[in-house]
């Protein structure tokens, strides 16, 4: 009888320890889907395509001077995507959690992404972010909290990175908030970048994944080599006003050049109405 009462008491205590709302499990092998923003994510963005980015004038100038040959330099070849961009590229992703054995509380979530194999830790144990003089990393320092079936992540201490792979920069002063939302076998990963240096307002992107238990992510070793023989210290770039490739995108897609220069206005659907009106005006003038 005493043993039965003791056993019942333990069971009651065990039940009392279960959280009132069950937390969703994000763990698994997630295969990315490219139906959103396919052209810029897979073949890559065109030079001079700043559409839909709330970039500052400073960011525009940085992008105008960017030369893709920069990436042939050995010291640039093995850079991974920073954590705010990694899911946009070839990003077969593994997510797993680290659990404290005694308390069964989640200490951290971890991610591993296929391209360049960056691994990231999202701390769930309430630890503070490091001081400003600590090192910045490609994945930054992340803390998270569960909000229903959504993991909300806050990241800082990122290295200087990029918003788009055509030279639009993202500075190391940026902070990033992410929401990972699981719906059955689908995962939506929302990333909100706030950059006081190169963005005029927060920039939001979403990327989708589907659970793929048979996914196998290959290793991704990287070795830097000399691809182009150059004098030491040469950094490929375009001097101001000399980048003749900037009009190719607008010419190819028959868009007004001004539209391709980006800015917050170009993020919103109302801008299409404005561009359509401008094109109509141009076409009318051309036909006369």
């Amino acid at each position: 009888m005493k043993r039965a009462i003791g056993g019942s008491l333990l069971m009651v205590l065990g039940l009392a320890a279960v959280p009132l709302s069950a937390q969703i499990d994000l763990a698994g092998e997630w295969a990315n889907r490219f139906h959103e923003d396919f052209p810029e994510r897979v073949p890559g963005p065109d030079i001079g395509d700043y559409l839909g980015i709330p970039l500052t004038a400073a960011a525009r100038m940085r992008a105008d001077s960017w030369d893709a040959s920069l990436l042939t330099l050995p010291e640039h070849q093995c850079k991974p995507h920073p954590s705010d961009y990694g899911m946009r590229g070839p990003a077969n992703t593994r997510i797993w959690k680290e659990v404290d054995t005694a308390t069964q509380q989640t200490i951290a979530w971890h991610t591993h992404i296929s391209w360049q194999a960056p691994e990231r830790t999202i701390w769930m144990d309430g630890r503070p972010h490091p001081p400003e003089y600590a090192a910045h990393t490609w994945q930054g320092f992340s803390t998270g909290k569960m909000e229903g079936n959504m993991l909300t992540i806050t990241t800082d201490h990122l290295k200087n990175g990029w918003i788009r792979r055509n030279g639009i920069p993202r500075s190391e002063k940026a902070t990033v908030v992410e929401h990972m939302i699981r719906n059955g076998n689908y995962l939506t990963w929302m990333v909100i970048v706030t950059d006081p240096v190169y963005l005029t307002e927060p920039f939001v992107r979403t990327t989708d994944f589907v659970l793929d238990p048979q996914q196998v992510i290959a290793p991704y070793p990287c070795e830097a080599v000399v691809e182009v023989e150059r004098p030491l210290g040469v950094v490929p770039n375009h001097l101001p006003g000399t980048n003749k490739f900037l009009t190719e995108f607008s010419t190819k897609y028959k868009l007004p050049y001004e539209a391709t220069r980006g800015g917050a206005e170009t993020m919103y659907p109302e801008y299409r109405v404005k561009v359509a009106a401008e094109l109509k005006k141009e076409n009318t003038a051309a036909s006369k």
Partner: protein, 332 residues
């Protein structure tokens, strides 16, 4: 590689021989009007034997081990007690060496206090000539000593004699072995100044760069003290040659900048790229015959201003120094 040893006895002789030099000094040594009472020292372990100390003025580097303590750069003088308190938490051994990366006051201010708090090991045929409790050696390129010992401008205080480097070199490098590792002092020519030293802790795999690399601000060529933008770019490329990243262009060799957060090679590459791109723009402008005022009006740095310039004066200073050093390169 050559070095000149200035023992305390020899410095005293120099003092007797040239009292006029000490009376006037050569450098604005006093700290800016700043309240240091509320400034704390923070220590960040880097790797191996090496720590980064952040307080007021430039970053300091502290190496500890069985041989004693080595300090790179000593911040402002009022921070000396706080620096010593933090150093004593890391090691109960004395400071044996201080290395100055260059002559600016926010990097040499604590020389006297930290040197006197430490002590060099004296032996051999100097044992009878130099007091057993001689202060810690202060190592620097000889141009640092030259500038510190130059008579100051009228109204400016002289730098205390006991803050002067005791051990200088005038070649491209000087080697020390301390706490189980090679410590290489590397002199880049005409970079931030004409007396720069970068310090490479080989086994700990850490480089202290002084103000050659300051990720929070534009590269500062102090043209009045022999600095140049081309020299800075060359020095940054030298750092990239020395550093080796670990996996995926991160970690590996760590870099302690003159000011700003702890870095690695990728951070230096980003900074080098900026310095080179802006140098290219200025050189193109000079080639086209543009005056300094025309270069300023062209705002060639506006894509980097919000990241590296605290205000318009900082941009103006950077552009002026860059233009002048490219138009009239310093000579050896």
């Amino acid at each position: 590689m050559k070095s000149i040893q200035f023992s305390r006895a020899l410095r005293t002789s120099a003092l007797i021989a040239a009292p006029a030099m000490l009376a006037v000094g050569g450098y604005v040594y006093a700290q800016q009007q700043q309240d240091f009472s509320k400034v704390e020292e923070h220590v960040l372990p880097v790797q191996g034997n090496v720590y980064m100390m952040v307080g007021a003025g430039g970053n300091s580097t502290i190496q500890v081990g069985k041989d004693g303590v080595l300090v790179v750069d000593t911040q402002f003088a009022p921070m000396a007690d706080k620096m010593l308190a933090e150093i004593h938490k890391l090691s109960d051994k004395p400071i044996r060496y201080i290395i100055n990366t260059h002559v600016h006051g926010d990097h040499i201010g604590g020389n006297e206090a930290l040197s006197k708090a430490g002590g060099i090991i004296v032996g051999g045929n100097f044992a009878g000539q130099v007091a057993a409790n001689s202060p810690a050696a202060i190592l620097a390129h000889e141009n640092v000593l030259n500038r510190m010992s130059t008579p100051p401008a009228a109204g400016q205080p002289a730098i205390p004699f006991d803050a002067f480097p005791t051990d200088t070199y005038f070649g491209d490098s000087k080697d020390v072995f301390f706490n189980g590792e090679a410590v290489q002092l590397i002199h880049p020519h005409h970079a931030h100044t004409d007396g720069d030293t970068m310090v490479f802790f080989r086994r700990s795999d850490v480089v202290s760069t002084g103000d050659i690399f300051t990720p929070g601000g534009f590269p500062n060529a102090d043209v009045t003290r022999g600095g140049s933008l081309n020299g800075l770019v060359a020095a940054l490329n030298r750092i990239i040659e020395i550093t080796v990243p670990a996996e995926k262009q991160e970690g590996g060799t760590y870099v302690i900048p003159g000011h700003g957060h702890l870095c690695d090679e990728a951070d230096v590459v980003e900074y080098r790229d900026m310095a080179t791109i802006l140098r290219d723009r200025f050189q193109d402008a000079i080639k086209k015959g543009m005056t300094l005022d025309q270069v300023k009006a062209a705002k060639l740095t506006r894509d980097y201003d919000p990241l590296y310039a605290q205000n318009e004066a900082a941009t103006d200073r950077f552009v002026t120094n860059a233009y002048n050093s490219l138009s009239n390169p310093p000579k050896d």
